[in-house]
Amino acid sequence: MVGNGKTRAATRRQFLLDAARNAGGVTLVGVGLAFHAGQARALPPEAIRPPGARAEPGFLAACLRCGMCVRDCPYQILNLAKLGQTIATGTPYFVARTGPCEMCVDIPCVKACPSGALDPDLTDINRARMGLAVLADHETCLNFLGLRCEVCYRACPLSDKAITLEQQQNPRSSAYATFIPTVHSDQCTGCGKCEHACVLETAAIRVLPRHLTKGELGEHYRLGWEEQKRAGKPLIEGVTGLPDRMPEATR
């Protein structure tokens, strides 16, 4: 019996040792992989997810890396990230400059997704929010320079809604106007057709992730003119108007 007990103790000791050895080795690998997983979340801004994609941490929990969306994209703009890219391995993306989303009305990529990584509740492509176009460079945009390029405005599938041309006075010569392409975030789907169409060597208008482009007012801010319209009268009584000081040329 004593010998048996000893054997059992030795067996238990061996078992615990094996378990500790395994746990140690596996933890080491796990920590490395956890850091890699953390970095893989930092999607590079030029990689845009297909329409309906859940926000990035949720997307990486949902996407099965199967490539069904890639296969069903009729314009074949989608790619699966390969190992070595800074995008999570096997996940779908497109690059607006080389191949923008053509905004199919039946959204085949979303229909193809088996897991819901691309939200099946997205049925109207105009409500997709893949990113947000932003006229990033005012120094090279031809319209800013006073020309009437406007290719981004014309390429936009929601032209006059997502991108409008805002007439302004050309500051170089007060006699001419500029037509500034202006993106409206409540309409822009982030399809990237503007960036794809930009005639510059490097696009002045870019589609970027919304969280990188969209500002947010403090909660306490009120737009006085809207509040006044809503109230139907000036919010503060008895404020006298100040004299308008307009530039000479416009008088």
């Binding site: 395994n22 997983a37 099965l64 790619n79 070595g84 897991s115």
Partner: protein, 304 residues
């Protein structure tokens, strides 16, 4: 001259019959890959997707249940198509014996088999000893990681999907991972990846715990102790109880879920000992009396 492994079987049964299951397995592996490639290469869309999820003929969804499990642990509730696909695969591999996936479908099998073949050819000795239980630890780690990171973290590095997706969609530097697996099996440790480390194999082992389709040492009394089956088996531990357990009242069915149902033992045996069968055929064998059975179990426990 040294007797080659399987040479007896070739002499007795002929080369073709002595490689029957190996050829069937390679043919299946290639067919699976060909079905996936027929779409992108030739335009015949029989199967779309990859091993993680696929749609066959536009109706049959198939999903990797282990990937879906990680997705669930990471906090996502998958849509029905993925759940149905995973249920189909889970059921199919439960019936077919779990790690049948490893031997008959997984593309990494060809890589590690090649490494093992070359290892034997070059006479690479021993190497690092990795416990077989390690794969379960890695399986647990991948699930913990899915929970902690809230993402399917293992898919970032999983050699199986990197290779399979790589062949179909483009591999990038993923080939480096495959080369690493090859070199691991060739020089670092024998049968290291599939048998000791891969969590997908561990998952399918768990699925196979009660699988009906098993290999049976039906004519074990004819065994002439040539040990060829042990040499070719990727999981040699699974054979002994079934082959040599007659005196201990152990049935002839290879019940271990580690068995990959590759059938190489059937091929290589010149005495026709092994055959595919069902786990239920274990009962038909006359069992030794209970006392002997208990004694046998004690012996096994001490040996373990």
């Amino acid at each position: 001259m040294k007797r080659g492994v399987g040479s007896d079987a070739i002499r007795v049964k002929g080369w073709l019959a002595a490689h029957r299951w190996l050829l069937a397995r390679r043919a299946t592996q290639l067919t699976v890959l060909a079905l996936f490639l027929a779409g992108p290469w030739l335009g015949y869309w029989i199967v779309k997707g990859n091993l993680n999820f696929s749609l066959t003929l536009g109706v049959l969804p198939l999903a990797d249940p282990y990937v879906l499990l990680q997705s669930l642990v990471a906090g996502h509730r998958p849509e029905r198509k993925a759940l149905v696909g995973a249920a189909v695969i889970l059921f199919a591999y439960f019936v077919a014996g779990g790690r049948t996936y490893c031997a008959w479908v997984c593309p990494v099998n060809a890589v590690t088999d090649a490494a093992h073949w070359l290892r034997a050819r070059l006479g690479v000795p021993g190497g690092v000893i990795i416990p077989r239980s390690t794969r379960y630890w890695i399986l647990a780690m991948t699930l913990a990681l899915a929970w902690i990171t809230g993402s399917i973290a293992w898919e970032l590095v999983n050699p199986i999907s990197i290779l399979h997706r790589g062949i179909i969609f483009g591999i990038g530097v993923g080939w480096a991972v495959i080369v690493a697996v090859f070199l691991l099996d060739l020089f670092v440790a024998e049968r290291a990846w599939c048998g000791r480390l891969c969590p997908v194999g561990a998952f399918y082992s768990a699925v196979a715990t009660f699988s009906p389709l098993r290999i049976v040492a039906v004519r074990r009394e004819q065994c002439n102790d040539c040990a060829d089956c042990y040499t070719v088996c990727p999981e040699p531990l699974v054979i002994r109880p079934a082959l040599k357990g007659a005196d201990d009242g152990i049935g002839p069915v290879i019940l271990s879920p580690h068995c990959t149902n590759c059938g190489r033992c059937i091929d290589v045996c010149s005495r026709h000992v092994f055959a595919f069968g069902s786990r239920f055929s274990n009962h038909r064998q006359p069992l030794a009396d209970a006392a002997q059975h208990v004694a046998a179990r004690k012996v096994t426990a001490v040996e373990l």
